[in-house]
């Protein structure tokens, strides 16, 4: 596919991936993606990249960290309430 077209669509990718792109732009992008394998791969893997990061947020606050935070804030008396 013509490189110029690929480049001009690059700036719209975040909106497209987030589903906030204007309808007309979506249609233009989708027409292009139907004929451009590289761009289709970029869009699919970009979506997947965002999805993987959004799924990888399982950090817990360690109990000891929470306790030290309460101590530093002089909130010890409320520590048991959770």
């Amino acid at each position: 596919m013509e490189e110029k077209n690929c480049k001009s669509l690059l700036g719209a990718l975040s909106d497209y991936v987030d589903g906030t792109a204007q309808e007309e732009l979506c249609r233009e992008l989708e027409r292009h993606l139907a004929n451009c394998d590289n761009c289709r791969i970029v869009v699919d893997t970009l979506k997947k990249t965002v999805y993987l990061y959004q799924s990888n947020t399982d950090t817990d606050l360690p109990v000891a960290v929470r306790e030290r935070l309460y101590k530093r804030l002089n909130l010890d008396e409320y520590l048991k309430t959770n």
Partner: protein
């Protein structure tokens, strides 16, 4: 008017009146997110804990002056980001100019990796080893891109909230977000592409 942070039931009026039980509720409502942000920003548990403590210390000291122009959570994220950036600067006070990120390059980094790794099973994409790599890839981002990506895609702030937390225009947030995402996609494509090649070999 009693202002309540949406979804948490926390009363700003009580916080500003010095209600300590209410402050404890604020801490429990947001400490996990703040700790996660700091950990992904700094990649060090002790540093993340320092940022967490300093963030709530500062919040405690300045809640009286909070004017409600943004939500409480956005305000906390803003304090946390500044604390994390200060720590980063202290650790490496001389960031070379080339390493720093300039907004005025309008070109986006053109994709160079065209391996379709979407088909890999989710258990592989999110294995313990892969997760380590996901975090490592974030650390390779210039910090100005990293912080936008973390707030928007990990913490789930809107474009507007991210722009409020970072004092950036929404356009700048969108530009940095796309740069961050494209950069991470390149990194993940080399990582997962390697797996695909091994699988097919």
């Amino acid at each position: 008017m009693v202002e309540i942070e949406a979804g948490t039931g926390i009363s700003l009026e009580a916080l500003q009146a010095g209600d300590r039980a209410e402050f404890a509720r604020l801490v429990d409502a947001f400490s996990t997110q703040i700790y996660r942000l700091a950990l992904k920003m700094l990649a060090d548990e002790q540093d993340a804990e320092d940022v967490l403590q300093n963030t709530f210390m500062k919040a405690l000291q300045s809640i009286e002056n909070f004017e409600g122009r943004s939500s409480l959570s956005t305000w906390l994220y803003r304090i946390a980001v500044n604390e994390a950036l200060m720590l980063l600067r202290r650790h490496k006070p001389t960031v070379s100019v080339a390493m720093d990120y300039e907004d005025d390059e309008d070109e986006f980094q053109h994709p160079t990796q065209f391996t379709d790794w979407c088909c890999l099973p989710e258990e592989d994409l999110l294995s313990a080893e892969s997760k380590k790599h996901l975090d490592k890839a974030i650390r390779q981002l210039p910090e100005k891109l990293r912080v936008v990506f973390l707030l928007r895609d990990i913490e789930g702030l809107s474009i507007r909230e991210t722009s409020e937390a970072l004092d950036l225009t929404e356009t700048a947030v969108k530009t940095r977000l796309l740069r961050a995402r494209l950069n991470l996609r390149e990194q993940l494509s080399s990582y997962y592409g390697e797996w695909l090649r091994e699988e097919q070999a």
